[in-house]
Assembly symmetry: C2
Homo-oligomer: 436 residues x 2
């Protein structure tokens, strides 16, 4: 008799659609190839079921892998290089010079691979990455077994790999072409911001994204300085400015959106532009508190991101969920704001919707890709487990015991399986030593 | 030849006084019995040194164990029982009824022991605990190998173990007597708050604390409701009210202090009253943001606490440090506020000073108790390790590989050594099942 499934995860608590459906208390998840075939209660598992491999998830919780909606993965190299500094000092005296000197194709490959390991170990299965040399990032994510949207950076300054800013869109087109068809990789474009890209560049990049059917990412309304600068130059808010340029639509992803007017929120909603909020980065750089609850009330599609390691300084979405939920409670003076279930939704199906992957990932359902994580609940800090809200308020990235992407085990028992992590760490340490 | 030391920790990065001194990059820590005898660079370790046991801390960082300045350890039972609710609903419809029915001596013992495991596993070596049946908590901490200040709860309502509030101070005296002389345990008194304890109770409890040479803990200025109520009843702020009652001195520890006037800060400074800030609890319950930077500027002794699991929902001081540092940056709109080094100081020697233990713990120095933790830095999220500020912004409680208290290994390789954790978890799960 042939096997029914390639992989059967049995006896776990199954949280198939975080924040949308209650968990199945003793359930299973059945996978063939890279695809989920069935999810249900153990009681309903046909008795003649067979599987090539079975994972006993008793005492564990199975949920969709987390979706990191915004990252600069290669910036792991700059982790902790410059903390607790004024924003402009941090950016202009530390980060920009370090990037100008040390960002190479090889650096992006190794440092993105390190980022992939960190994300896989803390439960993230999909990342939207925005940086330079993104074909090298794509290779790193692909080899790590991760799913990624890789958005090539476009900026009106000489940039790593793109010394002539006049060729920044051409360079992005090349990256898109190189990343097409790479398994689990979706190419995209990332314009750095409305204050570092001129109108012509913004329009050109968006036109390319449209022609290629790609997402268009952009940092937007992140700081008060940006609001001031765009108002001085264009007389409107950054959101209004992009709207006037016809850049806002359902395939644009606006990152941060910290400083929004009520009108900005209406515009984002009307254009169906997705937003990624990065609370820890906004806190650490003192950028401000994004009006995430108001965006959700307005019906804006919202996901969660870690941002890069120069401003966070890790890529752990479990910690990010905890920060998001707690920050908005204290900011609104209302403990019912940003409840755990909503937070879990943002970090899974919410992010998938923003990235245009909602028919592919973000939930555990038949026909979707088999991207899931298993948490070990047998730990003091998760005992007792009255409620899966603890996934936000007590669980840690380190509680993820197993990570499965596209039906393949990429991490098990806290060990990276898809590549040689020790080699990657050694290579990044060499690059870091040169930096000091 | 006799052994020079009982335990030698060699080859690690030694951060002997977090936030006060730079680390020793390749150093050692030498222990005899429960006491630190020497700390220094490996280059200066005498060649004839011998030790009964040597730990090779290469690739690791050795620092003082963290000091949790405020906890209700037994409330682990209520972890995740009631989240995302309005404060009064949470307290009056969930927490108070659960406490009235389920807090017993046995519950406090097992649930405090679970809390001890969680804290030891996340790098905390000393806790100031405030609850009922504190002699049972003392026994749990003692058996877990932890150091603890155990403060018996005093409140003007019938309370667990103290059905007659008229006997609450007498009951506290009994607990103090029973805990005297228990190794690593320091007894104390915890008046719940100025709004749940009358003036007579507050005065009586403070008199007992003074007579016994104990610390006097109290929740203070936690919520706007409290401020309003005390103002209505007494015409002054909660801090002024306690000052009028002569309750504020260097042996009083004020917990929370979220809502303070400039005058309140002056009073706390003048009386040399220590404060414990609990940012995650204050965020989750939407109580507000304590003016921790202003308190530090004023010269108030300040430590860090997790609060109990009903309002956080874990006891992880690494996460708490990260929240403290990031919250105050965004609240002040200044990324230089609450830098990592200051945060590390609060979680170690800062807390020790508030608890009256600064000559005993909080730093690694000859003559102090050997309470230390070793973090494994060989992890993707700590690579590269440009700066030990990463202890705040990227390290996790789960990076603690070894915990040593009073010179004894209580946790090694993520395993609790001092007691049977599985038994404790099973007992707490039984108690939790009864609760549902």
């Amino acid at each position: 008799m042939p096997f029914t499934y390639d992989l059967l995860i049995a006896n776990g608590i199954i949280l198939a659609a975080p924040g949308l459906q209650p968990p199945i208390h003793e359930g299973y998840l059945a996978i063939r190839g890279d695809t989920i075939l069935a999810v249900g209660a153990m009681a309903n598992l046909p008795s003649q079921t067979t599987a090539r491999q079975t994972i006993d998830a008793r005492g564990g919780l199975v949920m969709p892998g987390l979706v990191n909606g915004h990252c600069h993965a290669a910036m792991t190299l700059f982790r902790g290089l410059a903390d607790d500094l004024p924003l402009m000092d941090w950016l202009e005296r530390h980060i920009f010079p370090a990037e100008a000197r040390f960002v190479t194709r090889e650096m992006v490959y190794w440092c993105s691979k390190l980022a992939a390991a960190e994300m896989i170990l803390s439960g993230t299965t999909t990342v939207a990455d925005s940086y330079f040399f993104e074909e090298a990032a794509a290779r790193a994510f692909h080899e790590a077994g991760m799913r990624a949207v890789v958005a090539q950076g476009v900026i009106d300054f000489p940039a790593p790999g793109v010394p002539d800013p006049g060729k920044n869109i051409e360079a992005a087109a090349t990256v898109i072409e190189r990343c097409r068809g790479v398994e689990r990789i979706t190419p995209a474009i990332f314009c750095h911001s409305p204050y570092t890209c001129g109108a012509k560049t913004l329009a050109g990049a968006k036109a390319l994204a449209q022609a290629e059917g790609c997402k268009f990412f952009i940092h937007l309304a992140e700081t008060q300085d940006e609001i001031k600068q765009i108002r001085e130059q264009h007389g409107v808010s950054p959101v209004q400015y992009l709207d006037q340029l016809h850049l806002l639509d359902q395939d644009t992803v606006a990152i941060h959106c910290v400083h929004l007017t009520a009108q900005d929120i209406s515009i984002l909603r009307e254009r169906d532009t997705g937003v990624i909020t990065c609370p820890e980065s906004n806190m650490k750089l003192a950028s401000g508190i994004a009006p995430a609850p108001a965006m959700l009330t307005a019906g804006i599609r919202l996901g969660l991101g870690t941002d890069g390691c120069a401003s966070n300084n890790d890529l752990d979405l479990f910690a990010e969920m905890d920060s998001l939920a707690k920050l908005h409670k204290v900011a609104s003076q209302d403990p019912t704001t940003m409840p755990a279930k909503q937070t879990l939704r943002l970090a899974t199906s919410g992010g998938a919707e923003v990235l245009g992957l909602s028919g592919i990932i973000g939930r555990l359902a038949p026909g979707l890709k088999a991207d899931c994580i298993i948490l070990d609940l047998n730990a003091p800090h998760l005992t007792p487990f009255h409620n899966h809200d603890l996934l936000v308020y007590a669980a840690k990235g380190s509680d993820v015991k197993t990570t499965i992407i596209d039906g393949a085990l990429v991490m098990d028992e806290r060990r990276i399986l898809a590549f040689d992590l020790a080699e990657t760490m050694a290579r990044v340490r060499e690059l870091a030593a040169a930096l000091r």
